[in-house]
């Protein structure tokens, strides 16, 4: 018997799986810390198993109240936030928030921060023993109280010390979320690699400020805040590109990703996976839509494996 000809071609098989060092994800789409709550908030909008991973709100040793309001304001194609890292604390996260995520086929990245190296270490150690945490992302854009409040992430030695300490406290994959608020991120990426981390998260928010000209007051109570959203995307792309060329570590790219073309842009610049942040606020299904969009792009452009695209920006000779 001869095979019957099908009129519609079968859907092409494409592989979206990626590895951020030892962290294996079924697709390259993650959510950015602080923009996706603890997952539950968006589970009403789609099946979270659709995503490669989610990163939860930054966790500290003790619960934190955060900054006084107003905490956010809109800016051209972006927003400023000074939430002040309000969170339930690592213990309540493990006992009350994490179990909810067990029901999804998804990698859970726990974002951590502290004001001393010991705090970072302690939080990492607790997460290391928690079932269902697959990686730790270290936010080092926090003031180091023992060094006069200068952010860990803006000082090369502090960057190394804190990452080395976290590395020693856990066997889980460790991603270093570097601060973009430095002249050149590359030396910090090199330090992170020396400290033994498995990957880099780039970028955190850019320090910004906005003034209401009617009242002549800053528009958020903290005066300055972190800028996120499409406004920062070119800066983020540039940093991912520079770091990818200089350092061998896999990169989780983020900063203003709204749709799948933006995600592809990050991958071409050198990101292995991407995180969707502010876009979740604008469109609750953004991250899920981006998974579909990447797949469609691959089919249309004959890309069998997403890993083929990493860093493949075509720079004219």
């Amino acid at each position: 018997m001869t095979k019957r000809k099908t009129t519609t071609p079968p859907e092409k098989q494409v592989s979206l799986a990626v590895e951020l060092g030892p962290l294996k994800m079924k697709n390259p789409v993650c959510t950015a810390s602080g923009t996706f709550g603890y997952g539950e908030e968006y589970s009403r909008y789609y099946d979270l198993s659709k995503l490669g991973a989610i990163t939860v709100k930054g966790l500290s040793l003790k619960p934190l109240q955060g900054n006084p309001p107003p905490r956010i304001c809109e800016t051209p194609s972006g927003m400023l936030n000074a939430i002040g890292l309000q969170n339930v604390g690592v213990d309540e996260f493990i006992h009350k928030k994490l179990p909810f995520l067990h029901r999804y086929d998804i990698k859970v990245v726990a974002n951590i921060f502290g004001n001393t190296i010991e705090e970072y270490e302690a939080v990492a150690a607790r997460l290391d023993r928690a079932a269902g945490v697959h990686a730790i992302e270290v936010n080092i854009s926090c003031p180091n109280v023992k060094k006069g409040g200068m952010a860990f992430g803006t000082d090369l030695d502090s960057t190394y010390d804190v990452l080395k300490a976290v590395r020693g406290a856990t066997g889980l994959p460790v991603l270093a979320k570097l601060s973009p608020n430095v002249t050149d991120v590359v030396p910090f990426a090199v330090k992170a690699a020396e400290a033994g981390v498995d990957g880099l998260s780039l970028i955190n928010t850019l320090l910004g400020m906005s003034i209401n000209v009617k009242t002549r007051k800053p528009r958020i109570a903290n005066i300055t805040g972190g800028l996120s959203g499409p406004a920062i995307r070119p800066v983020a792309i540039r940093i991912v590109y520079q770091v990818h060329r200089a350092v061998g570590l896999p990169i989780l790219g983020m900063g203003g990703i709204i749709n799948s073309d933006d995600a592809i842009e990050f991958i071409l610049a050198g990101a292995t996976a991407v995180s969707v942040g502010t876009a979740n606020f604008v469109n609750p299904t953004a991250a899920s839509d981006i998974v579909d969009g990447i797949k469609k792009y691959m089919i249309e452009n004959d890309i069998a494996d997403i890993r083929q695209l990493v860093g493949k920006v075509d720079i004219p000779a």
């Binding site: 602080g34 923009t35 996706f36 709550g37 908030e41 968006y42 009403r44 709100k57 109240q65 955060g66 006084p68 309001p69 107003p70 905490r71 956010i72 304001c73 809109e74 051209p76 194609s77 972006g78 927003m79 936030n81 939430i83 309000q86 959203g229 499409p230 709204i258 502010t278 979740n280 606020f281 604008v282 469109n283 609750p284």
Partner: protein, 265 residues
């Protein structure tokens, strides 16, 4: 969800009625809940705007009352019937009318009347044992909104304007105090207040409510990004009764309606 604009009418001044239709949009909409509207596609303006449910028209249609005050609401004002509008909601806890309520005192300042009409309608429909009175204040005549609708519902109203251009001259707390002076002597058992308006007004109303031991539910506002409890951007300071200390609660998720007694004004 994608809703279709069925009408967008400039009532007067900067006030508009917007009606939209989408499957199921009004089904779970309780009084005092709100929606997040994406006023334009694209990234500028980026964030959605929170707007309260004004009235449920049907399971598949709702009505908003909004004031054009800035970029986003100006864009909203240009929508015409047939346009599509990206909406999420209903969101938030909304007003809860307890079983023991006998008299519901609705207190509105300016555009704050938006969620209160829906509340009046809801109570009239579901609770024949509750009497509704409304205290509505505004800067001047044109800021007294939804009067016609309240009248049609048969709600007794006490109106005032700050400039005296309509009804009595004064602020809404004056009219409430007078009402209380007149009717409270026969007892305030079962009286509860439901308010929405500028923060200063809510604080004033709350002072009266606590003086007379009247339970007070206040709907608060805050700048919002997500509207679904994920960003922690919209917090207000609320007393945690168990711990005895103020904590930050989310207007979008824990509110927008709070027990006013616990609000740290």
């Amino acid at each position: 969800m994608q809703a279709t604009v069925t009408s967008n009418e400039n009532i007067f001044g900067s006030y508009f009625h917007l009606e939209v239709a989408a499957k199921g949009i009004g089904r779970k909409a309780g009084p005092g809940t709100f929606y997040m509207l994406k006023v334009a596609s694209g990234t500028d303006p980026l964030l959605r705007r929170p707007i309260s449910l004004h009235r449920v028209v049907s399971d598949d249609a709702v009505r908003f009352l909004y004031k054009s005050v800035g970029r986003g609401t100006n864009i909203l004002g240009r929508l015409v019937p047939g346009d599509s509008l990206d909406i999420i909601g209903p969101l938030g806890n909304g007003f809860k009318v307890g079983k023991s309520v006998k008299l519901a005192m609705l207190v509105a300042g300016g555009i704050g009347v938006a969620p209160l009409l829906g509340l009046a309608e809801h109570i009239m429909k579901t609770r024949t044992d509750v009497t509704v009175v409304a205290f509505i204040g505004g800067r001047s005549e044109e800021d007294l909104l939804a009067i016609q609708e309240f009248r049609e519902l048969g709600v007794r109203m006490y109106l005032c304007t700050e400039d005296g251009s309509l009804a009595r001259c004064g602020i809404v707390t004056d009219t409430i105090e007078e009402y209380i002076k007149r009717y409270a002597p026969s007892g305030t058992k079962g009286w509860e207040m439901f308010s929405c308006g500028p923060k200063g007004m809510l604080r004033g109303v709350d002072a009266i409510a606590s003086m007379h031991k009247i339970k007070h539910h206040a709907s608060l506002e805050a700048n919002m990004a997500c509207g679904v409890g994920a960003c922690m951007g919209c917090v207000v300071s609320i007393l945690d009764r168990k711990a005895g200390v103020p904590v930050y609660k989310k207007v979008c998720d824990d509110g927008p309606v709070f027990d006013a007694e616990d609000v740290v004004w």
